[in-house]
Symmetry: C2
Subunit: 485 residues, 2 copies
C-alpha cells in the first residue's frame, strides 16, 4: 500500500511539472494565432489537475522510493506522459488516430524523431513547437529535471535519476548531491540550447525554426518543421552549425561540465569516449565520401563530403536529421551509417544505442579472452581510460548487449511476420531502438513512418521505448522476480 | 626452432593420413571408369610424399605440442589440406579457377556445403565422391581422427583435439585418455554413417547416392550429387530418413556414446542441449508451417508441413540440404530459418553456429543480470542442466559471441563494399559462418555461389573457416600476443 502511494505521489508531482511545459505551446499559439490555444490550455489543466489529485490523495502514506519502484515509476510515467501529450495533437487534428498520435509523442519524447505526419510545413506552429519541445524534454530526461527542481524528491531521487539517465556507469556524480548534479546537467543543456538557437538564427534560420531545431538538435531528436527536413534550407552554414551541436550533444554532459568548470579542453582528451567517438566518425566520413565519390553519386568530391558528413554525423550520433535522400546511396554506406547509430554516442549524452563506452568494453573483453587462452593463469583487468572496470560491470554490460541484440531480433521478426520486407523491418527497428529516426526503404530516409500498419507502428513504439530505457528498465517489469515480494 | 620442427612433424604425419583418404575416390574412379584415376593417384602420392619428407626431416628435433602451437597447427593444416584437395578438381576440370576450387574444398571440409559447381548430375562420380568425402572428414574433424589413430600424437593430442572440436566445453572427456575419446567418437560417427547409407538405400536411393548423401548428412555438410539437391528425389521417405540423421548429427556425439554404452535414452533427457534444441525446432516448424499454409504458398497444410519440416530442420541444424526453392517463401520464414542456423546445433555435434549451449547460457546470464539489479547482494550462480557454470566460462562464451557477431558484421560490410546487395550479403555470411550452406537472393537457396566475384568468394571462404574454428582459433593467430615469445 505504502509502495503504491509513494509511486502515485511522485507520479502526481512530475505530472504537475509536465503540465507547466504546456506554457510554451500556449504562448506560441497566442503569438501565431493558430487556434490551438484552447487545446493546450485544456491539456495543461488536465495534467496539473490530475497530478495534484494524485499527489494530494497519496501524500499522507508516501515513503521512500525503493530501487525497483524507481524503474516502475519511470516506465509508467513515460507511458502516461506520451499518452497525455497526444491530447493536443488529437484535439487539433481530428483525423489523427490514437496509434499515430502515440507514435508521434513517443518518437518525440524518446528523441527518435521519426514522424507519421506529412505536411509539416503547413502544420499549426504550436503543434510543431510541441513536438520539438517533447524532443527537448526527453533528451536529458524530464524526470532528471524533476529531480533537479524538486528537493523533496531527494529521498528517492537517485533511483529515478539512475533509471532515466543513459549509460552503463550512472553513479559518476558531479557533486555529492544528486539534485545538484541533475541541476548542473540541465543548466548546461539549457545553456547550449540557447547558444544553438542564436547560432542557427545567425546561420540564416528564422527565430521559430531556430528554436524548434535547437530543441531537436541538443536532444539528438531530429524532428524538423519541414517535410524535407534539413534539405529544406539547402544551406551549408546551417548544416555546419547543426553538425557542431550534434557532436556536442553526443558527448557526455558531465565532461562538458568539467570542461566549463575548469575552463579547459583537457576533460575531452582524458574522457575515454570522446576521442574514440570522433575517430570513428572521422574515419567513416572519409571512407564513405571516397566510396560515394568513386561511385559518382555526386558530381564532385566536395559535394559528396558535404552530404556524407552531415548525414553520417547526424544519423550515427542518433541525431537523425537528413539533408538529402540518402536512400539512393549505395547499400554499403547506408548500412554502415545505420550500424554506427548503434555504437557511436557517449554515455551521459542525449544519444541512443549501446554507447561508445560499452563498445570499447566489448572490444577489450574479447581481446582479454584471447590473451587468456594463451596465458590461462595471467590476471589481466580491463581498463578504459584510467578506469579499471570490475567484473560486475562487465557482466552487466554483456547482459545488456545480449538483451539489446535479442530485442532487435525479436522486433525485426515481428515486423517480418506482419509482412514488412526484410530491409525495411531491420532498418525501422535499428532506427527506433537506437532512437535515431531515419529508417530505410518503405519507412524512408526522411524519417516518415506513415506507411506502417497499426501493428507495425506499435512494434516501433516498443522499440523506441526499449531503446530510450536501455532495455533493462522496461524488460525488468516483465520478469516474475520484479513482482515477487 | 624446436617449436617449428614439432609443428612440421605433426603436419607431416596428418598430411600422410590425409593422403590415405584418396583411396576412396581412386576406387570410385576405377569402378565407374571416369578417367580421374590418374589425378587422384597423383594427389595421393603428393600428399603422402610431402608428408613423409616433412615428418622425416623434422622428426629428430620435435618436442611437445604447446597450447598455442595447437591452434597454429590446426589452422595451417586445414588451409594446407583445402589447398591440396583442390588438385584433383583442377586437374579433372581444367577450366576451374583456383579461387573456385579452393571455395569448393573449403566449403566441403568446413561442412558448409555451398558449391560453385553447376552440372553436378553429370560430374565425374569420383569428383562428386571426393567432395562428399571431404564433407565427412571435416564433420568430426580429420585431426581428431589423427589423434584417434596415432598414439604418438598423445603428447599434444589434447591441444589438437581442443583446437578442432566444436563447443564451449571441450574437456568433457568420455574416457581419461584423449586418444580413446577421439577413437570412440569416430567409431560412433562411422557406425551412424553406415546405418545411414543402408537406410538411404532402403528409402530408394542408389548405392552411390546413398554413400555420398550419408557422408554429407552425418557431417551436416549438405552437399549433393544433384543440382536440384534433395528436390531431385522428390521422395518423402528419403526426406524423413535425412531429417532423422540430421537431428542425430546435430546432437552431442558424447551423448550418443553414453546412450549406446548404457543402452538407455536417459542421456538424451539429461543432456542440457538435446531437449531445448528439439523444442526450438518443433515450435518453429509448427509456426512456420501454419504461416506458410495461411499465405497459401502450398495447396494444403500437409504439403506445407512436409517442406517446412525438411528445409527448416536441414538449414537450422546447419545440414543445408534443400528440397524446394524456399527463396520464394515469405521473408519471415526464410530469415527465421537463417537465424535458427546460428543457435540450434549442440556442442560436440558436427553442426555450426554458436551452439545451443551458448544460447542457453546467454539467456540465463541476461536473466541473472536483471535479477541482480533488483537484488544487488544476492549470489546466484548459473546452472545449465545440473552443471554450475564458473564465471570463467561465462566470460569466454560472451567474448566468443562478441567476436562471432563482429565477424558477421565485418564480413557483411566487406560484401556490401564489393557491391553485393544487403540481403545476399547478410544471407551469404550467415550461411557460411554457420557452415549451413544455403544463402539468399543472388547466392540462391540451392547453395550455389557461382555468381560471386573472386573477392566475394574469398570473403565467403574466410567466413567458413571462421565458423568451423569458432572464431577464436583463427583470430588468435592475428593478435600480437600470439607471436610474442
Ligand atoms: K533521433
Ligand atoms: K552445411
Amino acid at each position: 500500500m505504502q509502495r503504491f502511494c509513494t509511486i502515485a505521489f511522485v507520479l502526481g508531482l512530475i505530472l504537475m511539472i509536465f503540465g507547466l511545459t504546456y506554457i510554451l505551446p500556449i504562448a506560441t499559439s497566442l503569438y501565431f494565432n493558430d487556434a490551438m490555444t484552447e487545446h493546450f490550455t485544456n491539456g495543461m489543466l488536465l495534467n496539473i489537475g490530475a497530478g495534484a489529485i494524485l499527489a494530494g490523495l497519496s501524500m499522507r502514506w508516501r515513503g521512500d522510493v525503493k530501487t525497483r519502484d524507481g524503474y516502475l515509476l519511470v516506465a509508467s510515467f513515460w507511458i502516461l506522459m506520451a499518452a497525455a501529450a497526444t491530447l493536443p495533437l488529437m484535439w487539433g487534428l481530428p483525423e489523427l488516430s490514437f496509434t499515430d498520435a502515440f507514435f508521434e509523442t513517443t518518437s518525440a519524447l524518446t528523441t527518435t524523431g521519426a514522424t507519421v505526419f506529412v505536411g509539416l510545413d503547413s502544420l499549426a506552429p504550436s503543434l510543431n513547437l510541441w513536438r520539438h519541445e517533447l524532443n527537448w524534454l526527453g533528451g536529458l530526461g524530464i524526470i532528471v529535471l524533476a529531480v533537479a527542481i524538486l528537493p523533496l524528491l531527494g529521498i528517492g531521487g537517485m533511483q529515478l535519476y539512475k533509471a532515466e539517465i543513459a549509460g552503463p556507469i550512472k553513479d559518476s556524480k558531479l557533486t555529492p548531491r544528486i539534485n545538484e548534479t541533475a541541476r548542473l546537467l540541465w543548466m548546461i543543456y539549457a545553456a547550449f540550447t540557447l547558444i544553438c538557437i542564436v547560432s542557427l538564427k545567425l546561420a540564416g534560420m528564422g527565430w521559430f525554426d531556430a528554436i524548434c531545431h535547437a530543441f531537436s538538435t541538443m536532444s539528438l531528436g531530429g524532428l524538423s518543421t519541414h517535410d524535407a527536413n534539413i534539405g529544406y534550407f539547402g544551406s551549408p552554414t546551417i548544416e555546419l552549425v547543426l553538425m557542431g551541436f550534434m557532436l556536442i550533444s553526443a558527448m557526455n554532459f558531465a565532461v562538458h561540465y568539467s570542461a566549463l568548470h575548469k575552463f579547459s579542453l583537457k576533460p575531452y582528451l582524458t574522457d575515454p569516449e570522446a576521442i574514440p567517438m570522433l575517430a570513428v566518425i572521422t574515419a567513416s566520413v572519409m571512407i564513405c565520401s571516397i566510396y560515394i565519390w568513386y561511385q559518382q553519386i555526386y558530381p564532385d568530391f566536395l559535394t559528396a563530403l558535404r552530404h556524407v558528413s552531415f548525414n553520417l554525423i547526424s544519423v550515427s550520433t542518433s541525431g537523425g536529421f537528413v539533408s538529402d535522400n540518402f536512400r539512393l546511396w549505395p547499400p554499403f554506406v547506408i548500412w554502415w551509417i545505420l550500424y554506427l547509430t548503434s555504437i557511436t554516442a557517449c554515455t551521459g549524452s542525449t544519444g541512443g544505442g549501446i554507447k561508445m563506452f560499452r563498445t570499447l568494453l566489448l572490444w577489450k573483453q574479447a581481446g582479454r579472452e584471447m590473451f587468456s587462452i594463451l596465458h590461462p593463469r595471467a590476471i589481466n583487468p580491463i581498463r578504459i581510460g584510467d578506469m579499471p572496470i570490475p567484473n560486475k560491470i562487465i557482466f552487466s554490460v554483456l547482459a545488456f548487449i545480449f538483451l539489446y541484440f535479442i530485442s532487435i531480433v525479436a522486433l525485426t521478426f515481428a515486423l517480418l511476420f506482419s509482412g514488412l520486407d526484410p530491409l525495411s523491418a531491420l532498418g525501422a527497428v535499428l532506427a527506433c531502438i537506437n532512437n535515431a529516426g531515419p529508417g530505410l526503404s518503405l519507412v524512408g530516409t526522411a524519417s516518415n513512418y506513415q506507411g506502417l500498419s497499426d501493428f507495425q507502428t506499435w512494434i516501433c513504439v516498443i522499440a523506441m521505448l526499449l531503446g530510450r530505457f536501455e532495455v533493462f528498465t522496461l524488460l525488468m517489469l516483465f520478469t516474475p522476480a520484479f513482482w515477487r515480494k
